[in-house]
Symmetry: D2
Amino acid sequence: MPCKTNSELETFLKKAKHYTKMGKVADYIPALSKANRDDLSIAIYFPDGKYVSAGNVKEKITLQSISKVLTLALALIQRGEELVFSKVGYEPTGDPFNSIVKLEMSKPSKPLNPMINAGALAVTHMIKGNSVEERFTSILSFIQLLTGNKEIHYSKEVAQSEFETSHLNRSLCYFMKQHGIIDENVEELLDLYTKQCAIEVDCLDLARIGIVFALGGIDPVTKKRIMPAHVARLCKTFMVTCGMYNASGEFAVRVGIPAKSGVSGGILGAVPNRFGIGISGPALDDKGNSVAGVKLLEMLAEKYSLSMF
Amino acid sequence: MPCKTNSELETFLKKAKHYTKMGKVADYIPALSKANRDDLSIAIYFPDGKYVSAGNVKEKITLQSISKVLTLALALIQRGEELVFSKVGYEPTGDPFNSIVKLEMSKPSKPLNPMINAGALAVTHMIKGNSVEERFTSILSFIQLLTGNKEIHYSKEVAQSEFETSHLNRSLCYFMKQHGIIDENVEELLDLYTKQCAIEVDCLDLARIGIVFALGGIDPVTKKRIMPAHVARLCKTFMVTCGMYNASGEFAVRVGIPAKSGVSGGILGAVPNRFGIGISGPALDDKGNSVAGVKLLEMLAEKYSLSMF
Amino acid sequence: MPCKTNSELETFLKKAKHYTKMGKVADYIPALSKANRDDLSIAIYFPDGKYVSAGNVKEKITLQSISKVLTLALALIQRGEELVFSKVGYEPTGDPFNSIVKLEMSKPSKPLNPMINAGALAVTHMIKGNSVEERFTSILSFIQLLTGNKEIHYSKEVAQSEFETSHLNRSLCYFMKQHGIIDENVEELLDLYTKQCAIEVDCLDLARIGIVFALGGIDPVTKKRIMPAHVARLCKTFMVTCGMYNASGEFAVRVGIPAKSGVSGGILGAVPNRFGIGISGPALDDKGNSVAGVKLLEMLAEKYSLSMF
Amino acid sequence: MPCKTNSELETFLKKAKHYTKMGKVADYIPALSKANRDDLSIAIYFPDGKYVSAGNVKEKITLQSISKVLTLALALIQRGEELVFSKVGYEPTGDPFNSIVKLEMSKPSKPLNPMINAGALAVTHMIKGNSVEERFTSILSFIQLLTGNKEIHYSKEVAQSEFETSHLNRSLCYFMKQHGIIDENVEELLDLYTKQCAIEVDCLDLARIGIVFALGGIDPVTKKRIMPAHVARLCKTFMVTCGMYNASGEFAVRVGIPAKSGVSGGILGAVPNRFGIGISGPALDDKGNSVAGVKLLEMLAEKYSLSMF
């Protein structure tokens, strides 16, 4: 088992940290651009509920696209696989995560997978509840359960800022509304979606979520089942085929573990049966993944033979 | 000069009317689907202010896409060519009129021309006024001026129905808002746009507008200039290159006159210096043009050598 | 009637010549890159068989894409409209002239129009003859007839150079062969096509071709009919809707005459019933049109009200 | 360990066989259309060199797209990862396997991955040798080595038939030649490629190849290393992300093992460290995968928990 001590992990972190200089902090909303480019922290959770970490693990980031895989799990629990995949596909795509082209060119106009924006919006649309508030509580509670952390909340500033500027997501939503993929009020859906993206976690929280997926849905501390095994498996599959934006294929080759990244610089990793990994490193590469985070995972993957393949 | 008598025109109309059976009335909103598939009427205006007509010329239809060329004229008058074409291009496209693909794939994300929905929305966005009401009044007054008909108004039922269902146009608007092509409230723009599309005219009104374009902006009755010659010319150019949806090229070959059609079955035609033509015939072909209207124009074009080419 | 004297035309030429500095000579094959960026010459033919000219009118250029409209005329004469348009469409496209995307995305996989490469290849495919030599003789003779110039031939160097490098055209051909648009040997078709593109003319030849189209198919000197009126009309229509690459729409607005350009810097213009225009100016703008040639046409259009619209 | 006896496997086969009725044999070349729709056979190889099988295991099929992953392994051995991935990408795509659209729309014009036709052609282009014959011998020897079967050869009839009809592949090749991805004679490359696709194997051969990948490159019988571990891993990664055409994502969810299919109805599967699977079942679903083969794998995956996720 790798990295049983913090100091071992810190050695890796130190090496990887040089790469932050090659990245850029997301700046499409002011709240994200305030992040420190040089930050980098990592935590690894083990099946026995223990963990190691390195860097400033208390540094919070928003989930952003990492939330896509969590609401997918929740939607699968609430609605079942058949309904969910009547509205979103299973297939990876070579198009950008926020592309609308395939929605127009595919018949039916169904988002190709739940990891692109259109697909994630269709998934969030399926979260149960009588109001945005109720549905958001449902998502937040699920994430508190996954992390074992009742303190988790969302950043109003980030949510508000994204809500005001996400016209591309509005465009995707109305396109899907036209084609019957979603049928709710678009502003409400975006309110819910931007709140979900603005949920704040640290790398320890991410690592804890990772170990739950790694263990097929079991909480490492309470040993209770949080989600059915097939839901955890399904989520890990999407993390491999399309979890790292348009670098998913290369990441699968170089690292080979289920992972999901977000533009805040977070990465959620799950090594089946072995460990959960959480990384926070806001400097992004040109595909939108944490540049130092990916490097760190490459080093760990090589050292500890993490690849599933 | 062709068709100096109604009876001559009626002979053509009778022949063309058989083609209505091959078309289908637009049914994407209930209000449009109520139209009578077998209706067909035509009017031709001459430079001296006289006209001939055939069919039930009092049958009203909504402008729909025909409004695109009229608001283009108004925007050019109000804002000038430079500003207008900073937000919309000059080029025809082989994509459908409501396509969003090119907006994503072109850099900058500017609609290719003012005759596709994205371009028309960008044009309507530029109409001056402090409120939707004021801007709509500006459009409506312009059309009353063009037709010399103060009775012209819009169908609240059609406008409302389109407003509620035009999610594809919302999608286009938000895409353009993301890319800075438009910067107003989308619901307000759609309110204005759907009202403009719902303005009701008959074939005589359309023919009268046609003769104004044909005369380079001069009213045939009052002999007053309604728009600058270069604006009239510019509009006629777009009518030729992209006025008849994705059949514009074939229409240019077969008929060869500036024309603009709408899904209500209307066609506005302008034969430079010779006459204005208005047609109402709700049965559409698979490209969205009045099937009998196009046939009628083909017959007239052959008989009276209408083609500009 | 404009420019009855060479000196009047020379004044325009002198002004337009400054714009050559803003352009770039095509360099995708060495033979084309040898052209002199600063060259500019123009000739205008009148219906009575007289002409004026300015610049070095003996400067030869290869037809390149200008040949597309000439083989279209020949194919229409040889095969008739129905057959020709079973293999190529009528519609303008916003895609680049050498794009393959629409061939894959449209059903059936028919080139959108005869002015893009795919369409022009499909048209040349239809030229009759038992061998490449025989078919090329047929094309060359037709162009000698149009220009009244028996001296016209093709540049072996340019043809050979293009034949060796036009892999994109091979790609288009095989795509069309797969879909049944063409069924001949691709290397033979490309041999024929590159020869046709390499036919050498000067601006006087182009102007003479222009007046034939302008007169609906009649030779201005012999007064004999070279092509049926409907063929001339059809060609002029395509020149307006898609003759100037992806600047056809803007050219229609600014100049408003049927015209076809080539990457050698040639422009063939036809003002219906009035005159034929030939321009040679190798410096190209970013759309592939002669930058000074377009400017020259804009000046003439404004001065002499050339626009058809 | 599953299926230690043939009879156990036969029970599964019997169930899966009903699904052949729902599929269609590939018919784009006559040689393939002769296959028997109702055929279905499977073999499973174990790390100890033993195997079980069911159905008519002697039934031969051609490799078709299965060859893509084998030449990828060979090219990686011969040329190294850096060179190979300078000419082909790592990323899955939502486009069809034979699509050319992304080649035009991506910059640089590099095929997205080695499992689509364009990418596979670029990979075969890199196979070393002084002639098609020498390069084909290199591929064939590698497959004989992988299968431990010196009798393996190719079907001249299938190769010839595909060579004559694969104009779409020619189109892809010339497009890539234009953009510098390949620089050899296209007919030679296609000769080599169609021969490689026409190599004949049975399900036992496929299972034996599968176990080599499953064991990270080690032959189960001789215990010798056939390819470096990182090459085997890389191939398995592509099999997961894009091995099953445009159903790769769904297959990853439902079965969850590295697999590559071909239009002949073959499937090559590799369950890391556990076993190799070979299936032959010519009836295809609408994505191009063996319909009964996929069902069989779903059953086995559920029964024996094959999923890696």
